[in-house]
Symmetry: C2
Subunit: 223 residues, 2 copies
Amino acid sequence: MSDRRARKPPYSVDLILLTAVGGQLAVMLARSSEGREKWMLPWDAPRSGETMEASALRITKTVGVGEPAWIEQAGAYGDAKRHPSDSDVSVAYAGLVAMGTQSPVGGVYAWFPLADVPQLPPRQKQTLDGAIAVVRGRMDQSPVAFKLLPPMFTLTELQQMYELLLGKRLHKASFRRALQSAWLVEPTDEWRSEGRGRPAQLFRYSPRKRRPAQRGIRLDLLN
Amino acid sequence: MSDRRARKPPYSVDLILLTAVGGQLAVMLARSSEGREKWMLPWDAPRSGETMEASALRITKTVGVGEPAWIEQAGAYGDAKRHPSDSDVSVAYAGLVAMGTQSPVGGVYAWFPLADVPQLPPRQKQTLDGAIAVVRGRMDQSPVAFKLLPPMFTLTELQQMYELLLGKRLHKASFRRALQSAWLVEPTDEWRSEGRGRPAQLFRYSPRKRRPAQRGIRLDLLN
DNA sequence: GACATTAGTTGCCAGAAGTGACTAATTCGG
DNA sequence: CCGAATTAGTCACTTCTGGCAACTAATGTC
């Protein structure tokens, strides 16, 4: 958003940064310079010679939450709905930031739980919804849930992250059995006591080589 | 591709039309007006006020293979690699056409089996690969395989389509059992005799209401 | 009519996933 | 110090799914 008064850019790159805050998914919004309580997705026009993904990464730097643990294109939006830039098309990038990392630059940027997202410019509302769908859909192919967690975590935290992303409860024993046979995590020798109850062992993400998992098709998920 | 000498468009819409030809996936290419044996993906600049998807549908009309059975955005590509339009960004739309529909407009458009795709403009090669990945990835969520088949088909044809898209063999009995419990097809009272062997019953795609299929997570597919 | 060929079904088994009950380790309140 | 409450972690049982081979069924070829 370096210079919003520049001439109409060829396109804009919109950033949907997600993290987990207090058991909720949250998205990073930027305070609009016009109007005090107007918010929008962070965006910018690409610089010349810059790839789209490079633009997206540059925008994350501006926001001040370090390198996101994962980033992926999440569609292009180009209908007539209004966008802060005057561009005809916006390319969305979804990024994940581990929970509990440093807070963004004061005043301008802030995390909003998804339930409390204020009104956005019309095209950006669509963009946000689409990006969340992309992230949720990626869960099976990419270790998305781990990217939202700090390097060390308890299995209960991991399960809660999956439940958050899937929007449904999982059974503890089944979850752990699946986790075990997938060789995705490695126990550390640290334990964390969370007030009352037995302390939980901390694990880290450490995918091991595994058999190619020759599994069947899933006709049961079709519309 | 209405007027390639117009001034630089804000963006271009690239179309990746896929069908099945002789047991192979095939993509629709357009003959480039410059150079006799140069081919490219069909594309055009959007008309003013037209949504991106509307542009994509309009391009399919130009090609002459009727309305595709399915269409979906398949990413935006904007690196420095060359594109026939001079635009900074191309939005890709993947579309599926049922096999055996009418042939495209003579001379200008033609189906190319994926194995025989000629050299494409650099950005379009990426676009094509990405679109195929999108279609393959959609198989579990969307009845993609059915969209590549005519309205009535044998179960063997359906299975072969799945095998084609998945790139692996499936077991006949398992495939049919899964199909049955998914309530996706309905038998007709027609049969087709394909030379020797027992005739096959024809089915049509007819998804029935089903239980929400409360299934577990799939940690086993993670990278 | 014997045989090859393709379609379609059945039964069995191994592995995966759903579930509740169990044990283990800690805090808290007396 | 002891027991209830709380959270972590495991186990055993059941159900479901998918892979597999063998079977029946209907057609064409010789």
